[in-house]
């Protein structure tokens, strides 16, 4: 156990976590109840077996008895397990009903799974944002030999966490835009699949302010392991302040002023890491047979106007990226055309790529 335990900064557990909601605590209690029942049965059965293995061996001169059935015993060991199961089913049913009770919620958040990030929409306010794996993890997990221990909360950190108030019943409606994902934060006590074309419901009410981390738990393609979830539960006044601040930020127009080429490249890399890297890879090489390379690509290195149109329209395989603003288009295109093995030598400024309606 000395194998780098010190390096593991995060909580280190062997057992299920209790979590921070009433339901997660009930689930924990159920888990422990059944675990102990299993341990007790195990001690009984294996105890008898090992007693027998030790004493009833030929090398000790034990002579084999020849009995081979006993109806009474067989009935007893059918009925007792049945009764134990009934005993388990009662609390399990209660918890299941509780988990299922989405009535009377205080607020609703729509969670949309996408390859490979989460999209959160607060249905009671206008807050809407994407939550991607943080850049530091993104760089390290794509580089052979990079040191994951240098990244805080490696693979469990996001650029924009989901923020909820404590002690409020938050209802989630979950869906997906592409394949099936599953939204899981162990501290909340449940996971729920996000199915394309359908809506699932779930709820939570967090008792304690804090940061809670989780991951996608349904295989959703090559970057399934890289779409974490971070939930920050805030006291009500802090939450209210966060809502106001976030709404203000959302209203801000993108800064379309000119940038130096270093700035364009650095910002462009961020945009690339968030939106493109999952498919086209960190070096722009794509995936042979599945995803085209950007390195040397005629579209990427051709006229920037056609690249711009291509990105905004998407294809049958690639989603359209009209969600990016003019500033991001300038940065991204400058980066793609002058890095990843490409050398077009141009420099696109936000004013060039902004559309008239891009200021929203």
């Amino acid at each position: 156990m000395a194998l780098g335990l010190g390096a593991a900064q995060a909580d280190y557990t062997l057992n299920l976590m209790k979590g921070v909601t009433k339901v997660s605590n009930d689930i924990y209690d159920l888990h422990m109840l059944i675990l102990w029942i299993c341990v007790a049965i195990g001690i009984g059965v294996f105890g008898a077996m090992f007693y027998s293995i030790y004493h009833h061996r030929k090398s000790k001169g034990h002579v084999a008895a020849q009995f081979h059935e006993n109806t009474t015993v067989e009935i007893i060991w059918t009925i007792i397990p049945t009764l134990i199961l009934v005993g388990m089913a009662i609390p399990a049913t209660k918890t299941m009903l509780e988990l299922n009770d989405i009535e009377k919620s205080d607020m609703t958040i729509q969670v949309t799974g996408r390859q490979w990030y989460w999209d959160y929409k607060y249905l009671d306010s206008d807050i809407h944002f994407e939550s991607h794996l943080d850049e530091a993890s993104e760089r390290v997990h794509r580089t052979v030999g990079a040191d994951p221990r240098s990244v805080p909360h490696y693979l469990l950190n996001v650029d924009k966490p989901l923020v909820i108030p404590v002690k409020k019943k938050v209802r989630f409606v979950l869906t997906s835009a592409d394949v099936i994902h599953s939204w899981w934060v162990p501290d909340l006590g449940w996971k729920k699949d996000a199915n394309p074309g359908f809506i699932n419901e779930a709820w939570t009410s967090v008792d304690k302010a804090g940061t809670y981390r989780g991951q996608c738990t349904e295989l959703c393609g090559r970057d399934h392991g890289f779409m974490p979830i971070v939930v920050i539960a805030l006291e009500q006044p802090d939450y209210d302040a966060w809502v106001i601040k976030t709404l203000e930020q959302q209203k801000q127009k993108p800064d379309l002023s000119d940038q130096s080429s270093q700035q364009l490249m650095a910002h462009g890399e961020s945009v690339y890491l968030k939106n493109c890297v999952g498919c086209h890879q960190i070096n722009g090489a794509g995936v042979p047979g599945l995803i085209p390379a950007l390195t040397g690509s005629a579209i990427a290195t051709g006229k920037w106007e056609s690249l711009d149109g291509f990105l905004r329209a998407g294809t049958s395989k690639m989603p359209k990226f009209d969600k990016l603003n003019g500033k991001e288009f300038a940065e991204l295109m400058t980066y793609v055309r002058n890095n990843l093995g490409n050398k077009v030598g141009d420099e696109l400024q936000p004013k060039q790529t902004a559309l008239p309606d891009d200021d929203d």
Binding site: T13, A64, T82, E98, G189, L219, R222, K317
Partner: protein, 546 residues
């Protein structure tokens, strides 16, 4: 009994022209149940190493956090192919191989009922697995959407390249092969038992295979149907699983698991049969509760059809569905418990010895029960909201497959190889193989319980730092377990080539002839056996029911 054996020897000596053909053609055209059984077993062993190599790739990448050896998509291909190869290429064919060898011997039949179909089902299996393996070399790689092949992921052009239709046709071939094998087994058991053997006289291995064969016939067409719908969704513009066209991706999961749950019992019921055959021999006692074993097997098989959605608790089912599938699943613990109690009672007050087959069988009972416990835990739907799709379930099903199904296949190898070949295996190396396997398999899979409970999802190529220690330990266990299996390969080859040189008796194991018919035949087994059916069958296990 001896009169029967003598007559048999005489028969074999007189008919040299009925011996095996010479050369390669013997294996291609054979209709002999022993030859076909051998081919199934050799093929399964080869696939065990292929699937095992894929597991080594997985454990190597997971040895440390960060990207080391393989791209995430290839990692997903490895988890997908590891499962498909192990399930359809190793475990299932291995049990069919055992059935081919043992069922005719145990019921006193000269061969399988449909020998030509027997040959065809083997070669279709080879074709199916080769077709599947060929996808590894295709543009876009092998299927990487998990062995469950869930849409829409598996239909997505950026995820799966050209592999899908090949995987689908491979499933069709494997399905036809399994169904033919199953029909053959049912026909053999119903029609070719020695006249003296009633259904309730049959060895448990025969019973469990009979029930398994019915499961196969019932569910392989369902799987074939599901993957065919994938095919038409992909290439013929149907929308079975596409919400945009009025379909439902979750429908696939219902169909898949209606196949998938009986499928996991297809891999465990014959295991129960072998354990129920081996334990009494080494306890020198009749099997305890023969009739209840038969009924428990039947109940488990029946229940396997009505519990499928416990694989889907988090998919978003109505509450009535969640509760029903929870209750139905919990009930499985009852007949499974009966089996474990019966094995324990069989050992109780026996005169046990611990040769390698017995060691593997005892390890099976203990470790399968551990897998059963975690299964019971996962049947509790609300708690499964935490366990689902984590390493906890990876640990669970590997406990029921590796130290259960695989261990019992090893036990069967040690148990029957001396009978089949006439040579004794090297007991010292056998025991070394056992102890290395049983220790390393626990180092490999037990820590995965901790990982799952601590929050590590399955099917991820990289993980957060707090999962690093147990993953490293698990990988070390994996490497030792993988390497230990080379010992088994050595023992099998060595035994076939002469083993210890010790000439084994007809019974091989002390008083084995009291338990089952095959031990009353000469060792090594002649090419043709039971050309005249035995006049009586050992019925030690059912003494009082007569």
């Amino acid at each position: 009994m001896s009169a029967v054996v003598d007559e048999h020897d005489h028969h074999a000596d007189d008919h040299h022209d009925h011996g095996p053909a010479k050369g390669l053609l013997r294996w291609i055209t054979t209709t002999n149940h022993k030859d076909i059984g051998t081919m199934y077993l050799v093929f399964a062993l080869a696939m065990f190493f292929v699937g095992g190599a894929m597991a080594m790739v997985i454990r190597a990448e997971l040895f440390e956090p960060g990207l080391q050896f393989v791209d995430p998509a290839f990692f997903n291909s490895m988890t997908t192919m590891h499962a498909l190869v192990m399930v359809f290429g190793a475990v299932m064919p291995a049990f069919v191989g055992l059935a081919n060898w043992q069922i005719p011997l145990m019921i006193g039949a000269a061969d399988m009922a449909l020998p030509r179909m027997n040959n065809m089902s083997f070669w279709m299996l080879v074709a199916g697995v080769l077709l599947l393996a060929s996808t590894l070399f295709m543009e876009g790689g092998a299927p990487n959407g998990g062995w469950t092949l869930y849409p829409p992921l598996v239909l997505q052009p950026i995820t799966v390249g050209k592999a899908l239709p090949f995987a689908v046709f491979s499933v069709h071939l494997l399905g036809i092969s399994s169904i033919m094998g199953a029909i053959n087994i049912i026909a053999t058991i119903f029609n070719m038992r020695a006249p003296a053997m009633k259904m309730m006289d049959m060895p448990l291995f025969v019973w469990t295979w009979l029930i398994t064969a019915f499961l196969l016939i019932a569910v392989m067409p369902v799987f074939a149907g599901a993957v065919t719908m994938l095919l038409t969704d992909k290439f013929f513009h149907t929308s079975f699983f596409n919400a945009a066209g009025g379909g439902d991706p979750v429908l696939y999961q219902h169909i898949f698991w209606f196949f998938g749950h009986p499928e996991v019992y297809i891999m465990i019921l014959p295991t129960f049969g072998v354990a129920s055959t081996i334990i009494p021999v080494f306890a020198r006692k009749p099997l305890f509760g023969y009739a209840s074993m038969v009924w428990a097997t039947g109940s488990i098989a029946f229940l396997s059809f009505i519990v499928w959605a416990h694989h889907m608790f988090t998919v978003g089912m109505p509450i009535a569905g969640e509760l029903y599938f929870m209750y139905a699943t919990m009930i499985i613990a009852v007949p499974t418990g009966v089996k474990v109690f019966n094995w324990t009672a069989t050992m109780w007050k026996g005169a046990m010895t611990f040769e390698t087959p017995m060691l593997f069988s005892i390890a099976f009972v203990v470790l399968f029960t551990m897998g059963g416990f975690t299964g019971l835990m996962m049947s509790i739907a609300p708690v499964d909201f935490q366990y689902h799709d984590t390493y906890f379930i990876v640990a669970h099903f590997h406990y029921t497959l590796v130290p259960a199904s695989i261990f019992i296949l090893m036990a069967a190898g040690y148990f029957w190889l001396p009978k089949w070949t006439g040579h004794m295996y090297n007991e010292k190396i056998g025991q070394l193989h056992f102890w290395l396997s049983v220790i390393s398999v626990n180092v490999l899979f037990f820590p995965q319980h901790f990982l799952g409970l601590a929050g590590m999802p399955r099917r991820i190529p990289d993980y957060a730092i707090q999962f690093a220690d147990w993953n490293m330990i698990s990988s070390i266990g994996g490497f030792i377990f993988g390497a230990s299996q080379l010992l088994f390969l050595y023992i099998v080859v060595d035994t076939i080539r002469g083993g210890t040189g010790e000439k084994v008796s007809d019974e091989v194991w002390e008083d084995a002839g009291k338990h089952s018919l095959e031990w009353t035949l000469p060792s090594p087994l002649p090419y043709h056996t039971w050309t005249t059916p035995p006049v009586s069958a050992p019925t030690e296990h059912v003494l009082d029911s007569h």
